[in-house]
C-alpha cells in the first residue's frame, strides 16, 4: 500500500475546500435521504420495524464515499456487490438502469440481503452509483424467513440472484420482478419492498445528478479524490497511534453447525506504522452448514471492528480501507467457495469474526477496546393466533448486555456487536394482544454481567407462557450458549445465554440449532440473556460502585464477595 497525502493538505485535484466540504456533506445527505425514503415506503412489517437496510453512494470504481448509518454489517460489504454488478454489465450501463444481486458468490453477504444500484452518468461516463441493501423477509429456501441450520448447500437457502438488470434505461423488467417475487413465501411484501428500494435509489440518483449540474464533473471528481484521501489519512492517523507489532485474537463459535463446538476463529493483526494487516488465513475450512462467511461479509466485519475502535466518524468511507490489508484463505470458513450455505454469516459468524479482531486490537490499542457483547440467539414461533390465522413471531426482545470498556460499564440490554441498540423491541402489550402468549416477567438477570473494574451490562430474563389452543413450532438459530461474552484485561466473562422450555415442572434447554421444537399450551419459555463481559480487575472496582451494584441487586452478595472481594 502506497503512502498517502499528509493530513491537512489540499487535495491534488485543485478542488476548493468549500466545494469539498459542501459536496461531502451533500453526498451524506443523499445517502440519508435514500434510507428515509426506504423507511417510508417499505412494505413488509418486518422491514419497517427492524429497519434492516442501508444506503451508500459509491464512485465509479465501487468505492464507498458516503453511507447512511444504519446497519453496520451492511456497509463494508456493499462495494463487493457493487463491483460484481458493475463488472457483469461493464460497457452496457445506461442512465435509468437498475442493477440487482444477492448472491454471496457474486459479492453479496447472504441471500435475504438484496442489493440494488443505479448509476449517475455525466459526460457519457459513469461517475457515481447510489445503492441500497435491504434484508427481505423471505427469499425462498427450505425454511421460512431463512436462517436454516439444516441447509447444506446454498440452493437450500433460497433464490440466488447473480447480477442482473431489474430495469433497463428506466423501464422496469416486470417479468423478472415476477420471477423473483414468486420465489418468496411473501411475494407481495417482496414486491413492495423491492419497489421501495427502486424508488429510493432513483430519487438518490436525481439528487446526485443535480450535484453534477451545479458543480460540474471535474469538480465532483476532485471531491471524490479528496474525500477518499481524507478517509485514508484519517484511518492512517488512527492506526499510526497504535502500538506496532503482531497480535493474535481468537474467538470461538459455539458450534459450526456440523457437530463441532468451540470452533476457533483466529486473526493475526500486524500494525506497521500507519498500516494494518488483518490475516485470517489460520481460520478453519468452510463447513457444510450456514455458518460460513463469504469474503464480502468478512471484510464488512473488519470494517465494523475498526469503526468501533476508531474515534473518528469521518473515517467511514472506502479511503479508510486503503490503510488496511485483509488476507484470507479461499475455502475457509471466512472466505467460502460454492456451494456451501452462508445465511448465518451476518448475525452469527459475523459477531465472532468481529470479536476475534477486537481481541487482537485490544493489544494494540487498549484504550479503545471493548469487552464481549451478548451474541444473537434468535428464535421464531410459528403457529395459529387466536383467530386461527397463521403467524410467525420473531423473538426481538431481551438482547443481552454490552461489554465494559476502559471508562464505563457496558450498556444493559443492548446486545449483539454487529448491530447494537438497533430496532426497539416490540411492546409486551402488543405481543400479548397479537399472539397467543402471556409474558410472565421481564427483568434484569442478577449476576449476568461479567465482573470487572468496569463491569458488563446486564442481560434480562424474559418468561413467555404459551397459551395457544393448538401446538406451535419453535425454530432457533443462535450463538452464545456455550461461549460467553469475553472479559478484557482481567475482567470476567459475562454469563452466557440460557433458554429453556419449562413444561409441567421439567426443564428442557433450547439449543442454538434446535428446529421443529413443538411447544404446547402452558409451556413456559424462560429466556435468560447473556450479560456483557467485564473490563479490568473486579477487585479494582470502586467500592462505592460495588456497594451500589449490590444495593441495586445487579450482583448477588455471594458474587460481590467472591468476584469483587467486597
Amino acid at each position: 500500500m502506497s503512502a498517502t497525502s499528509p493530513v491537512g493538505t489540499r487535495p491534488s485535484a485543485g478542488v476548493h475546500p468549500m466545494t469539498l466540504a459542501v459536496v461531502r456533506y451533500k453526498l451524506l445527505a443523499v445517502a440519508e435521504e435514500v434510507v428515509e425514503m426506504m423507511i417510508r415506503t417499505c412494505f413488509s412489517p418486518l422491514l419497517n420495524q427492524s429497519r434492516d437496510f442501508s444506503a451508500v453512494v459509491l464512485d465509479a470504481r465501487s468505492r464507498v464515499l458516503a453511507q447512511a448509518e444504519r446497519v453496520p454489517i451492511h456497509m463494508g460489504a456493499m462495494p463487493f456487490a457493487m463491483h460484481a454488478m458493475h463488472q457483469a454489465f461493464a460497457g452496457d450501463i445506461h442512465e435509468g438502469d437498475i442493477l440487482m444481486a444477492n448472491d454471496p458468490y457474486f459479492g453479496g453477504s447472504h441471500l435475504p440481503d438484496i442489493t440494488l444500484a443505479t448509476p449517475v452518468l455525466s459526460g457519457g461516463r459513469i461517475r457515481l452509483w447510489v445503492a441500497n441493501r435491504a434484508h427481505q423477509g423471505d427469499i425462498g429456501g427450505i425454511s421460512a424467513g431463512g436462517y436454516s441450520p439444516q441447509a447444506r448447500e446454498i440452493w437450500h437457502e433460497g433464490l440466488r440472484i447473480p447480477p442482473i438488470k431489474l430495469a433497463e434505461r428506466g423501464v422496469l423488467r416486470e417479468d423478472l420482478l415476477r420471477l423473483i417475487c414468486e420465489n418468496s413465501r411473501k411475494p407481495d411484501d417482496m414486491r413492495g419492498d423491492l419497489m421501495a428500494q427502486v424508488a429510493s435509489i432513483t430519487i438518490g440518483a436525481q439528487r446526485l445528478q443535480a450535484l453534477f449540474e451545479r458543480y460540474g464533473a471535474e469538480q465532483i471528481e476532485g471531491c471524490i479524490a479528496g474525500i477518499l484521501d481524507a478517509g485514508e489519512a484519517s484511518m492512517r492517523a488512527q492506526i499510526g497511534r497504535w502500538k506496532p507489532g503482531r497480535y493474535t485474537g481468537v474467538s470461538y463459535l459455539d458450534d459450526d453447525g456440523v457437530g463441532n463446538q468451540n470452533v476457533p476463529i483466529t486473526v493475526h493483526l500486524t500494525v506497521e506504522g500507519d498500516h494494518a494487516v488483518v490475516d485470517f488465513t489460520a481460520c478453519p475450512d468452510q463447513v457444510s452448514s450456514f455458518m460460513n462467511s463469504p469474503y464480502a461479509n468478512t471484510a464488512a466485519c473488519v470494517n465494523v471492528a475498526f469503526l468501533y475502535v476508531s474515534d473518528d466518524r469521518q473515517a467511514r468511507n472506502e479511503g479508510s480501507a486503503r490503510a488496511i490489508t485483509i488476507r484470507t484463505r479461499k475455502g475457509s470458513i471466512v472466505d467460502c467457495v460454492p456451494p456451501v450455505p452462508v445465511t448465518g454469516c451476518t448475525t452469527l459468524t459475523g459477531s465472532v469474526i468481529i470479536e476475534a479482531l477486537l481481541r487482537a486490537m485490544e493489544q494494540a490499542a487498549p484504550e479503545g477496546s471493548l469487552a464481549g457483547f451478548a451474541r444473537r440467539f434468535r428464535f421464531v414461533i410459528a403457529g395459529k393466533d387466536r383467530d386461527g390465522q397463521d403467524y410467525i413471531w420473531h423473538y426481538f426482545s431481551n438482547r443481552g448486555g454490552a461489554g465494559g470498556n476502559a471508562r464505563h460499564d457496558g450498556y444493559t440490554n443492548l446486545g449483539v456487536i454487529h448491530n447494537p441498540g438497533g430496532s426497539p423491541s416490540p411492546s409486551i402489550e402488543r405481543t400479548e394482544a397479537g399472539f397467543p402468549f402471556a409474558i410472565e416477567s421481564y427483568e434484569l438477570r442478577v449476576d449476568s454481567a461479567g465482573a470487572g473494574r468496569r463491569r458488563g451490562g446486564l442481560g434480562g430474563v424474559y418468561v413467555l407462557r404459551y397459551e395457544g389452543e393448538r401446538d406451535a413450532i419453535l425454530n432457533a438459530a443462535g450463538e452464545g450458549v456455550i461461549v460467553p461474552p469475553y472479559g478484557v484485561d482481567g475482567g470476567d466473562p459475562g454469563a452466557p445465554h440460557d433458554y429453556r422450555i419449562v413444561r409441567n415442572g421439567t426443564e428442557m434447554a433450547i439449543g442454538t440449532r434446535d428446529t421443529g421444537v413443538r411447544i404446547t399450551r402452558g409451556d413456559r419459555l424462560v429466556c435468560k440473556a447473556a450479560g456483557g463481559g467485564g473490563y479490568g480487575d473486579p477487585r479494582e472496582r470502586e467500592r462505592e460502585l460495588v456497594r451500589r451494584d449490590l444495593e441495586y441487586g445487579y450482583v448477588s452478595r455471594e458474587a460481590a464477595r467472591s468476584r469483587y472481594g467486597y
Binding site: P17, M18, A230, Q314, T412
Partner: protein
C-alpha cells in the same frame, strides 16, 4: 392587554399586545436559579417602558401566558424528584431495559444512562390484567401497603403507578392512587393510563416517570409564580404554555408536567403558523437558528404539524407535541478540519460561554458567527442592540489559525466556506424534515427567525429552490409572540385496539363522544362558552402487525355514517401520503382515539403599518463591506425604520437590535404591512 413571557437560556422575553393591536416587547436577563425573578423583572421593565407600574400593567392583563424551561432543565440536568415506581410484579426493570435501544449506536464506550427511577425505588406488586382487560390476578393490597410504606420511608417525593394493560383496564392503577390518598401521603402521583391512554407499556411508563420526575419542581415553580403575580395585581389565571402549542391553567399543567418540555420551540412554531395564516400561505417551513441549534417545523394549512414521540437523549416521552426538529447547527457551532483535513461543522458548540471567538469571552475556536462577522454579514457594533461589542480581529485570528492557514486559503475564503457549509447543513435539515413527511421543500415558504437565521435565510432558500422567504420584524421575541396566538388546549385519548371490521356500529362515535364530553367539561369549568370551543378528532391507525401508526383526521360527520368506508378511505389516504402505497384489501387496525379541545381566545390582530413609498433610502444607515466571493460595498438598513412597501435590491443588509439579514445579489426584499421582510429571487 395580552401578556406573555418566554424564558430562554439567556433572555426572558416579555411581549404585550394592547387593545389597539400595538406590540410592546421587553427583554430581561434570565435568572436560572429562580426563573420567576427574571419574569417579574421583565414585566416591571415593560411597565416602566410604558410609563406605568407593574401592578397597573398586570391589572390590565386579560390573558397571561407563560413558557418556562423549568421542566426541561430538571430533566436535562437530572435534578428532578426522587421518584418511586409501583408496577406489575415481574416487570420492575422495564425502564432500565428500555426497548433495547441506544441513542448513538456507534459510540459503544458511552456511560450507561441510569433511568429516572433507580432500581431500589422500583417495586413490583402482585396483580395482572390480561391483554383484553380481564383481571388475571387481583391487586394484592397487603403487598401494596407494604411497598408504599417502604417507598415513603425511602424518601420518595413522587410516585409513578404503571401496570401492564392498564390502558385496557385501569382499575388497579386507580385503586393504588386511592390507597395512597387514604393513607394521608400527600405526594405527586402519575398514573400511566392517565398520562398516556394507549397501548405500549414502555411508552406509558417512561412518559409517566418523566411526568413525576419534573412534576413536583414545576409545581413549586408555577405555584410560587402564580402567587407572586396574583399579589402583584394579576386578575386572570396564569396559563402555562405546552409543547402542543396550546396553553393550560397552572393546575392542569402541573398534572401534565411532561407536556411542558418543549414549550419554547412550540411558541416559535405557533408564531410561524400565525404569520402563515396572516399571509395566506398554506405551507410554510419555520427555522429558528440560535446559538447551538436550529429548530425546524412544518406548517400545513396554517397549523404546525404534530408528532407523538420525543426523545430527550435516552429518555422517551410520548405526548402530542408540535413536530419541531432540532438540528445541531447554530451560530456557535465550531468549524474545524477533521482528521482527514476536510472542513467540518460541529457537533461541538461554543454555546453562550465562552461563545464564539468574537464575543471576547475567552473562546478561541472559530464558529459560524465568527465567519459571519469576518464576512461583514453581522455588524460588530449593533449585535444584541449594542449590548455586546464583537471583535472582528479575534474572529479573524481564530479562522486564520484553525481553518485558513491549514487549508492554504485566505481568511475570507475560509469564512465563506464555513458560511456555505452552514447553509448546506440547514438546507439539508429542512429537506429531511419535508421528505420525512412525504413532502417537497419547493412547495413551502421559508420563515426564518432566531438571532442567527437572517444571515443564512436567502442562501438556504436558494439551496432548496424555495421561492419565498419571510423574516418577521419580531424575530427576537417570536416564541413569546407565538404564545399569544395560542388557544387553551386539552388533549384526551382512549384506546380502541381493534381491526376496523370488528368495530361495533357506533363504537367510535361513543368513544369520541365520551372524550368530547370530558373535554367540553374541562373548558366549561375554565369559563369557555360552547361557541368558543373547537375540536380536532384523530384516530391512530395502522396495518395489523405493523409498529408505527398513522394519524387519520376524523370529522363529526364521519361518525354518523353507518358503514366504515370513510375510515378505510381516510386511513389509506393518510398512509399513502406518508408511504406512497397502500395494502389493498387489508383492513386497518384502530389503536387509539384522540381528541384535542381548544378554548379559543379572541383572534390576535397585529396593527398594520401604513404603506408608503418603495424607496428604502430613508431607512438606510450607510453601508458595509461584505464578502460574497469578492468584497463589495452593500447598503445597510435599520429593520425598525423600514416601512411597509419599501423595496431593497440585493446585495443589501438589514440590521436590528437582535438580528441581521443578508439579501444577496439577484434577490429582492419587500416590506409588508406587518413589518416583515419578504425575499424573492429573480427568475433563474
Amino acid at each position: 392587554m395580552r401578556l406573555s413571557v418566554d424564558v430562554g437560556g439567556t433572555f426572558t422575553d416579555v411581549v404585550a399586545i394592547d387593545e389597539n393591536g400595538d406590540l410592546h416587547v421587553r427583554k430581561a436577563l434570565s435568572t436560572p436559579h429562580d426563573q420567576s425573578i427574571g419574569v417579574l423583572d421583565g414585566i416591571a421593565g415593560l411597565s416602566r417602558q410604558l410609563g406605568t407600574t407593574l401592578e397597573a400593567l398586570l391589572a390590565r392583563a386579560t390573558l397571561f401566558i407563560h413558557g418556562t424551561t423549568v421542566a426541561t432543565n430538571l430533566l436535562i440536568e437530572r435534578k428532578g424528584a426522587r421518584v418511586g415506581l409501583v408496577t406489575t410484579e415481574g416487570f420492575r426493570d422495564l425502564l432500565e431495559i428500555r426497548e433495547g435501544t441506544k441513542a448513538d449506536r456507534y459510540d459503544l464506550r458511552e456511560a450507561f444512562p441510569q433511568p429516572l427511577v433507580p432500581r431500589p425505588l422500583r417495586r413490583g406488586v402482585p396483580e395482572r390484567v390480561r391483554w383484553d382487560g380481564a383481571v388475571e390476578k387481583p391487586l394484592d393490597e397487603t403487598a401494596l401497603q407494604r411497598v408504599l410504606r417502604e417507598l415513603r420511608d425511602q424518601g420518595v417525593d413522587a410516585l409513578v403507578i404503571g401496570f401492564l394493560n392498564a390502558h385496557r383496564n385501569p382499575s388497579h392503577e386507580i385503586a393504588v392512587r386511592e390507597l395512597v390518598e387514604q393513607s394521608g401521603w400527600q405526594t405527586y402521583v402519575s398514573l400511566g393510563h392517565e398520562i398516556l391512554a394507549q397501548e405500549g407499556e414502555y411508552d406509558r411508563l417512561s412518559t409517566a416517570a418523566v411526568n413525576s420526575y419534573v412534576g413536583p419542581g414545576l409545581k413549586r415553580y408555577l405555584d410560587n409564580l402564580a402567587l407572586r403575580l396574583l399579589s402583584s395585581g394579576l386578575r386572570v389565571p396564569l396559563m402555562s404554555m405546552q409543547s402542543t402549542g396550546g396553553a393550560l391553567p397552572v393546575d392542569q399543567s402541573v398534572r401534565h408536567a411532561a407536556g411542558a418540555l418543549t414549550s419554547g420551540p412550540a411558541g416559535g412554531a405557533m408564531a410561524g403558523a400565525f404569520f402563515a395564516r396572516q399571509y395566506g400561505e398554506q405551507r410554510m417551513v419555520t427555522y429558528d437558528m440560535g446559538g447551538t441549534s436550529t429548530d425546524i417545523c412544518l406548517i400545513d394549512g396554517g397549523r404546525p404539524l404534530e408528532r407523538q414521540k420525543t426523545d430527550f437523549g435516552d429518555v422517551k416521552v410520548v405526548a402530542p407535541t408540535l413536530d419541531v426538529t432540532a438540528l445541531g447547527a447554530g451560530g456557535g457551532s465550531i468549524a474545524k478540519l477533521d482528521h482527514g483535513g476536510i472542513l467540518d461543522l460541529g457537533p461541538e458548540s461554543a454555546g453562550a460561554r465562552p461563545g464564539p471567538a468574537c464575543y471576547q469571552q475567552g473562546g478561541v475556536l472559530p464558529t459560524v458567527t465568527d465567519a459571519n462577522v469576518v464576512l461583514g454579514y453581522i455588524s460588530p457594533d449593533t449585535f444584541l442592540g449594542g449590548r455586546m461589542t464583537l471583535s472582528r480581529d479575534l474572529a479573524v485570528a481564530a479562522i486564520r489559525k484553525h481553518i485558513a492557514e491549514p487549508l492554504g486559503v485566505s481568511v475570507e475564503e475560509a469564512s465563506y466556506a464555513i458560511n456555505a457549509l452552514a447553509n448546506a447543513r440547514i438546507a439539508e435539515g429542512i429537506r429531511a424534515a419535508t421528505v420525512r413527511r412525504g413532502r417537497d421543500p419547493r412547495d413551502y415558504a421559508l420563515f426564518s427567525f432566531g438571532g442567527a437565521g437572517g444571515v443564512h435565510a436567502d442562501m438556504v432558500g436558494r439551496e432548496l429552490l424555495i421561492p419565498k422567504i419571510v423574516i418577521p420584524r419580531e424575530a427576537a421575541v417570536l416564541s413569546a409572540l407565538g404564545f399569544l396566538s395560542s388557544d387553551i388546549r386539552h388533549d384526551l385519548s382512549a384506546p380502541v385496539g381493534k381491526p376496523a371490521p370488528r368495530l361495533e356500529p357506533g363504537e367510535l362515535k361513543s368513544v369520541f363522544d365520551g372524550l368530547e364530553a370530558r373535554g367540553r367539561a374541562l373548558l366549561a369549568a375554565e369559563g369557555f362558552a360552547s361557541d368558543r370551543v373547537r375540536l380536532v378528532r384523530m384516530l391512530d391507525c395502522r396495518y395489523h402487525r405493523q409498529v408505527f401508526s398513522v394519524e387519520v383526521p376524523v370529522e363529526a360527520g364521519d361518525l354518523e355514517r353507518s358503514d366504515d368506508a370513510w375510515l378505510v378511505r381516510k386511513f389509506e389516504a393518510s398512509y399513502r401520503t406518508l408511504y406512497q402505497h397502500v395494502h389493498e384489501d387489508v383492513p386497518g387496525f384502530v389503536d387509539t382515539c384522540r381528541i384535542a379541545v381548544f378554548g379559543m381566545q379572541p383572534p390576535l390582530v397585529l396593527k398594520e403599518r401604513p404603506a408608503g413609498a418603495t424607496d428604502a433610502s430613508p431607512a438606510c444607515r450607510g453601508s458595509r463591506r461584505v464578502y460574497l466571493q469578492a468584497w463589495t460595498q452593500a447598503p445597510v438598513y435599520w429593520f425598525d425604520d423600514l416601512l411597509s412597501g419599501m423595496v431593497l435590491k440585493g446585495p443589501a443588509l438589514v440590521d436590528s437590535a437582535s438580528t441581521s439579514v443578508l439579501v444577496v445579489a439577484g434577490s429582492t426584499a419587500v416590506i409588508d404591512p406587518l413589518g416583515s421582510i419578504h425575499i424573492t429571487r429573480e427568475r433563474e
